[in-house]
Amino acid sequence: MKSILSFLSMEEIERIHEASLAVLEKTGIIVHSENVCKLLAQNGASVDGNRVKIPRAMVEETMTKINHEVFLAARDPAHDLRLPGPGRPFNTTSGYSPFVRDLEYGLTRPSTSHDLKQFALVGDYLEAVAFFWPIVMPGDEPAALEELCALDISFKNLCKHVQCSCSSPETAEWQIRLAAALAGGEEKLRERPLFSAVTSPVSPLTFEKNTVEAMVTLAKAGIPVVPMTMAMAGTTAPATLAGTLLVANAEELATLVIVKCANPDAPMIYSADIAPSDLKTGVVNYYGPEYPLLATGCAQLARYYGIPSMVSHGSSEDIPYDQPSFERNILKVVMSFMTGTDLSSWLGSLESALNASLINLIMDAEICEQAFAYLRQFEVSDDTLALDIIDAVGPGGHYLSQKHTVTHFRKELWTKKLKDTLVLDRAGGSSFAEKAKHKVKEILSNHTVPPIDADIQKEMDDVMQKARRELG
C-alpha cells in the first residue's frame, strides 16, 4: 500500500509523447548557438539558421540511450544519492535568491557569501536537506563569479551533493575544474559527480547560447544536467494544461537530444517547474490549483521515459510562516511528494525564490518530516490483515488490549506528539519563529563541517584564484 498521484491516463501520456515528437519534427526548436546547431546537424537534425528540427527517428534513437539511473555523489559518500530514489523525494533548498531575510532584524536585504555559508552549514545539519542548492547568491562577489563562488562556498561548508545554476560555458568549465580538484581529477569527477547543474531552456522551445553551450560542456564532463523547464500556461505555453505539458515535455526531450549528442553517456534529470500564469498580471501563479496537477503530469511523463525526475516543488514559498500557512503547506508538500518526483527543491525559500530565510528552512524541514509520514509503505500480509485477531475480538469488542496492537501500532500509526513540532508547541510562551531562530543559532554555533584536506583545499583555492583573474 502506497499513495501516488496520477493525473494522466496511459493513453493521454502516449498522446502527449506522440505530439512532442510532432512538435520537435515539425515546429522544431531555436538554438542560439552555432556550435550546438552544428553538433545537432551532425547527428541528423535539420538546421536552418538557428531553427533546429529534430526528426522522430533521432529522438527515438536518443531515447534508447537514456540513463535510467542517475548518481549524485557527495563530498561525504554517506550522503551520496542514487536515483530513482527510495520512494520518497530527496529534498533540497530552493535557490539562487538575490535577497535574504536577515536572521536578526527580519528585514529583507541583498544576500552575501556569509549568508550562503550559514545556509550551507544549516543545510549540512538538517536531515531534510538531502542535497543543496546554493539558496542565496553571494552578492558581494563579481557577477561573473557568482555561480562559481556559490559552488565553492557550498563545497566548503557542506558535505552533501550540490546542485548549482550554470549560465555560461565558461562558468561550467570553472565549476568542473573546481569540482575535479575536490574529486581528485576529471575522471574521478565523472565517476563521482559531486555537483549537478541547472541549465534551463527558455519556453517556448528556445535554448539561449550560454545555457545550451553550458549544457554541452557539462554533459561532456559527465555532470548531470537538470533542464528545469518553466513553461507557463497562458503566456509561454498554451492556456491548456495538455498544451503546457506538451511544450514542457518537448523541451525536456530536446534537451535530452542535445545532451546525448554531446555525450551518449551523459546523465540528465527530467526537470520542470511549470505553472499557470496569472493572466491579469502575466506573472506566474504558484497558488493555482493547476500547479500541482501539472507537476503530477510531469512526474508521470518522466516515469514513462524512465528518467529520474525533479518536477514538483513543495510549498508556495510566498510568505514568512504563520501557523495557518505552515499547516496549509504541510498538505501542499504532501501533494507534491505524492507526485512521485525523485528530487524536489523548495526548502527555505520565500517570495517565489526571490528571497530566503533560515527560519523558514527550519520550519520547512519540519514540514518535510511530517509529509514523509504520508509516503510510508504499508504491507498487506496475513500478519497485517489480522484475520485471526479480528475473529478473536469479534464484533463489538475492541483492539486496545491485543498483543497485536502493541506490536504494530508504533510502526503503523503516527505516534509523534504535535507539541514536538516547533510550530504547534504552544508551551513556553515564545512564538515558533523565536524557537526556530533559537534553533538556527544553536546549529550555527555548534555544528561544524569537517574541513577539506589541506592539499585539496589548496588546489581548489588555486582554481578560484585563476578564475578570479580570468572572469573577475
Binding site: 475492541h398 483492539y399 486496545l400 488490549s401 498483543k403 502493541v406 501500532f409 508504533r410 505516534t415
Partner: protein
C-alpha cells in the same frame, strides 16, 4: 524474580507473568511479596510511563491485564493466608450511565483500578440509576465510578448523586465521574467527589480520596 515479573507486566505479557507468578509461589515466596514487589511496581511503572507520554494506551492496558491475570492466581493464596492476609485498597462499583453505550474508557479505568489493587465490580454500560443504587446497597463500595461519554447522558451522573442523597447513602460512598465531555467544573457542580481525566489519574484520585 520480582524484577522478572515487573518486566513481564511492563511488556504486557500476561501468559509469561502468570507462569512467573506460579513459579514464585512454587518456590515458596510469600504471595504478598510477589504482589507488592513484583506486580504493583510493574503496573505503577506502566502508569508512570503513560504519564510521561512514553507509553500509549495499548501498552498501559496490556500491562493492566497482565497484572489482573497475576492477581487472579495470587488472590486465593492471599485470602488463604491466616497471618493478616491481604486487603484490597477498597471496593469500587463502576459503570457507564443509562442511555450511554460507551464501554472502552470505563473498562480501561476498571482494569487499571484492579491492577492497582482495588476490588472492582464493573456493571457494564447503559446502567440505570436504580441499578446503581441497588448495587451500592448490596456491595457497600467505598467508591462509585460513573462514566458518561455524551453531553446528553452527563445529566444521568447528577441523577445518581441525587438518588444517593434521597436514599441516605451519599455519606457512605465517594462518587467519581469521568468521560470525554466531563470536566472538573461539572463534577463540582453536580456534587461529585472528584473527576479524573484518564485511567492513570483515576487510580491516583481513587487512592487519594480514600486516604
Amino acid at each position: 524474580m520480582f524484577e522478572k515479573i515487573k518486566q513481564a507486566i511492563l511488556e504486557g505479557e500476561a501468559d509469561i507473568t502468570v507462569d512467573l507468578v506460579k513459579k514464585a509461589l512454587a518456590e515458596g515466596i510469600d504471595p504478598l511479596e510477589i504482589l507488592n514487589k513484583g506486580c504493583i511496581p510493574g503496573v505503577e511503572r506502566a502508569g508512570e510511563l503513560f504519564e510521561a507520554e512514553e507509553f500509549f494506551l495499548p501498552e498501559l492496558i496490556t500491562a493492566g491485564e497482565a497484572t489482573k491475570a497475576a492477581m487472579e492466581i495470587l488472590m486465593p493464596e492471599l485470602q488463604n493466608k491466616k497471618t493478616g492476609g491481604w486487603q484490597s485498597l477498597g471496593k469500587v462499583v463502576i459503570g457507564t450511565v443509562e442511555g450511554d453505550m460507551h464501554d472502552i474508557g470505563k473498562s480501561i479505568v476498571a482494569s487499571m483500578l484492579t491492577a492497582a489493587g482495588f476490588e472492582v465490580v464493573d456493571l457494564g454500560v447503559d446502567v440505570s440509576c436504580q441499578r446503581f443504587i441497588e448495587e451500592i446497597k448490596k456491595q457497600s463500595p467505598a467508591i462509585v465510578g460513573l462514566s458518561a461519554l455524551l453531553t446528553s447522558t452527563m445529566s444521568k451522573q447528577q441523577e445518581v448523586i441525587k438518588a444517593l442523597e434521597s436514599e441516605g447513602l451519599r455519606g457512605q460512598v465517594k462518587v467519581l465521574v469521568g468521560g470525554a465531555p466531563v470536566t472538573g467544573a461539572w463534577a463540582e457542580k453536580i456534587g461529585a467527589d472528584g473527576y479524573a481525566e484518564d485511567a492513570v489519574a483515576a487510580v491516583k484520585l481513587a487512592k487519594k480520596i480514600l486516604n
